[in-house]
Symmetry: C2
Subunit: 100 residues, 2 copies
């Protein structure tokens, strides 16, 4: 499984991710990279979920997705590594390109 070989981000790498993806934040335990995305409507939120899912499948990773009306929470973590890896940071970068 490709995710198993991923290493957790170093603190320098995590700082670079935080700087490069200002809309994202690390959860207090540092194990998840997440973003709340306001899509404007429930219908647009569902469309965004579909776009995220296609990117996720393309890179072989599975974000957690929570839909609350127009808001989607995207949560990224690599279970096999016990936290945030480059796989998560790369997917966040891709998701950023399709976020409204």
């Amino acid at each position: 499984m490709r995710t198993a070989s991923r290493a957790l981000l170093s603190s320098d790498e995590a700082a670079a991710v935080a700087a490069g993806l200002p809309a994202w934040r690390f959860t207090p335990d540092g194990r998840t990279l997440e973003r709340l995305v306001d899509c404007g409507s429930f219908a647009e939120a569902i469309a965004f979920v579909g776009r995220v899912a296609l990117l996720a499948e393309a890179v072989g990773h599975e974000p957690e997705l929570d839909v609350r009306g127009p808001i989607v929470r995207v949560s990224l973590s690599t279970r096999a590594a016990g936290g945030v890896t480059s796989l998560d940071a790369d997917l966040a970068d891709w998701i950023e390109r399709v976020a409204p």
Copy 2:
């Protein structure tokens, strides 16, 4: 707003819903009707979310949807009424028809 006129289910009505929709449960506070749906894969979970969203838009209601790998949690509640109404029970019934 059509949901504003909905009344909370009576305890008899809630019991009927519980009996008629055995895969669903009321949360401990009684304010939400929810179901965990195992779709078998992340891709199928996303497809299911899309089907639920189409039904939800058709009836003018917005479920909360949480995707965790192959599992989707669907949570139904009518905010304007402060709990579960016939709108939620009806949508649960529709969702049941498209669940895997």
